[in-house]
Amino acid sequence: MSTGQAPHTGTDPHTGTDAWKGGGMYLREVPVKVENLSVAYRSGGRDITVADNVSFEVEAGRTLAVVGESGSGKSTVAGTLLGHLRHGSRITSGSVEVAGRDVFSLGGRDLRALRARDVAMVGQNAGNALTPSMRVGTQLEEALMARVPARAERRAEARTLLEKVGLPEPDRIGRRYPHQLSGGQQQRVAIAMALAARPRVLVLDEPTTALDVVTQARILDLVAGLSAELHLATVLVSHDLGVVARMADEAVVMREGAVVEAAPAADLFTAPRHPYTRRLLASVPRVSDAGLAEVGEDGTRTVRDRAPVPEEAPEAVSLEDVVVQYGRSRAVDGVSLGLRRGEVLALVGESGSGKSTLAWSLAGLRAPASGRMRLHGEQEGDLAAGARKRPPELRRRIQLAFQNADTSLNPRRIAREAVRRPLRFFGLASRSDADTRARGLIEDVALAPALSDRLPQQLSGGQRQRVGIARALAAGPDVVVADEITTALDVSVQASVLALLDDLRTERDLAFVFISHDLAVVRGIADRVAVMKDGRVVEEGPVGAVFTGPNHPYTRRLMEAVLEPDAAGGAGLGHGAADRTDRTEGAARADSAADAAGEGGGGSVASGSGAAEGTAEGEWIDLGGGHRIRRGGE
């Protein structure tokens, strides 16, 4: 990555005579002006407003974040900067001016020219944004067509761009198809494609939401470095306040289509004015919280003390050397863990770490290939068999709650029936009082009883997730396996679901296996944490100990990648711009290496690193108090 000095003067496409370069030095340049913008679409014969009187400006070299929860209209607003509206939507008032032109007054040719030269967008999922049937190099060259007429030059410049976004061996990458790249690499290509036109305005629509935390941090570093270097006016759309804090100079908070607060990012995070912003900020779990945060109506934030798990709490589940295989590859590779009644054990790791496989195995959906897995209590039970082979009593005592609120409930059955079924199935209630019991359980998860007659599609995401929890509780389990159950929820809803879980844990003396990739959530809800990587536990311990360290290098990497919604987060922990680009460069290489290892070879590469670990097999560093770290491995 360029540090803006000598190395690139020869090939850097951006040292041309373009007026915009350095233009901001002597005059205030405002490439983005949105004024009183309203967008609506027609449904059932009436207008539904998506964006309501939105105004903002972005100066060159600055980053504006548009923040909001789902349904706030933030993505719609981002699209208008490129003159893009969804099928059926239209502008009802206001204007959008980009690079001095009124976007919605442009004809087809002019609009294309604007998109080809002045404004570019990077979407949420580059995997979907790249054309699957074209080599990425070709797609990149296309983006250069408006500016570079000669074909050979385009090829050379595409190569330079790929280098610039930190992809190794640009010639080889350029010849690949999108599906041959990892998520991080795809996103880098998408960024290169956006920059190809040398735009003045860069629109980022949730650019890192689909990525792992570690990759996210690297991509954000890259974007921040590039926008500063190229003096772009950047509009960042995000629901993630941590990302906003890391990236934005200014922020606009949207809710139900309207802007509720606009302020410099630093002010927004230190002194939010609007109650909604305060509540939103307060709802975000922090790594520094020693328990769950409770958020008042006015946005006040109190951290709930964690009730310690009593010393004498009996063991609920024990795992010894569990191996789960998919074909020949080991998704879970020799995991030993224990869980006590009333305890929340968090399994943390990136996608592909084996945490969900382990959870599913516990729930009986995939029998382990070897190892011991037992359920303790009044009656001992062997969990090493699939659900069908387990006695009903055993199945009843371990229950599963799901990540995706859209698919966890049968769309053709009302909420009460979903909860009623386990009651009847396990013979816990007679036909006559099953309904009453089901209704009671729905109330227990803090839902209005009236909602029990609704179909899932008539419930909100949070409500559906609660019904899912009620269904798990209906069986009267000892252990609940919760697989990323808050991941898809908005922060405010997430906070309330987490609080519910915590209440249930103490009320019912439940043991939870809580699977998450979000360390801040884990910090608040868990008693103990197990960090998984490549199917193994690399670190395990009480939540306090793990979060204060010392840590396994992998855990440390995860922790460093966490973005907190604080003013400090934005300043990049005190990094200067030069420092930041250095980090970008180093991280990009590491990213590419990790990408190559993760995607390219799959099992074979993993087994390679496994061999390196082999010598340290079973070697743990014991830090006392149940905190242990696997030796080596990074």
């Binding site: 030269r117 979907n128 296309e142 599906h179």
Partner: protein, 319 residues
Amino acid sequence: MLTFLTRRLLSAAGTVLLASVLVFAAVQLLPGDVATQVLGQDATPEAVAALRDQLDLNRPAVLRFAEWLAGAVRGDFGTSLVSGEPVSGALWLHLRNTLLIAAATVAVAVTSSIVLGVVAGLYRDRWPDTLISSLTLAGMSVPEFVVATLLVMALSISVPVLPAVVLDGASAPVADLLPAVVLPTVALSVVMTAYIVRMTRTSVIDVMASEFVTTARLKGLGAWRVVVRHALPSALLPTLNVIAMNVAWLVGGVVVVENVFNYPGIGKLMLESVHSRDLPVLQAVAVVGAAVYVLCNLAADLAAMALNPRLRTGERSTR
């Protein structure tokens, strides 16, 4: 990729084999006594016995199938009960004639349906789409023999430029048959186009709404380039299977159309053998039909590989 191809070829061969088992079973085992079936209830016992002998019915079915299969692999489908000549001679001649129609139909129907489908998809809900979609629906609602009958009425009888009824025999030279190919081709193309257009249209609409096409548009690319380079390869993928299925359907569709035009193709051969209960011919035609179907699917798979780098680079197998 090579292993994928080998596996695909083996499975295709397996499908044809299984299909011929089914056909053989249906023809030979179902009706009880084949000889009585062929000759009718009031045949003399001597005649039945003679036919049983000729058909080798006194030996176990498995053995007979093995022998038949061994012959079929070498292109020998046995002897016709009616003409007493080898089945394969007539079969290849009629197949050649049918392939004339089939090739012409595929060329016409595939080209026109892709063009119309893409136009309808791109102009979704506007007049070109409404027009194409209505015509399509009409095409789907009229059986091919009706189209054929109407064509005969409209063209051959009122404006007699093209032969309404073919008078050539199966062994006529290709050049003589060519004028006779036109009307059957039109009749079959109308129906076939209707089905493929619908698929292409849906698929184009899906792909045009996809994120990568939006991205290409937002890159400021011209409309032509967006459609041809970015959208079409992905949009044609699902269409391929429908095309393959329709080509296979053709083999059945020609039975009816050839009958209307008295065209000496495989359909007519089939119909004649049904009337005369010429079981060896029937069996051979059915198996050849199955082979055509399997080959079409194979071709579709190969075309899909050409369009989809994910298949070509062999990351994942289909299905």
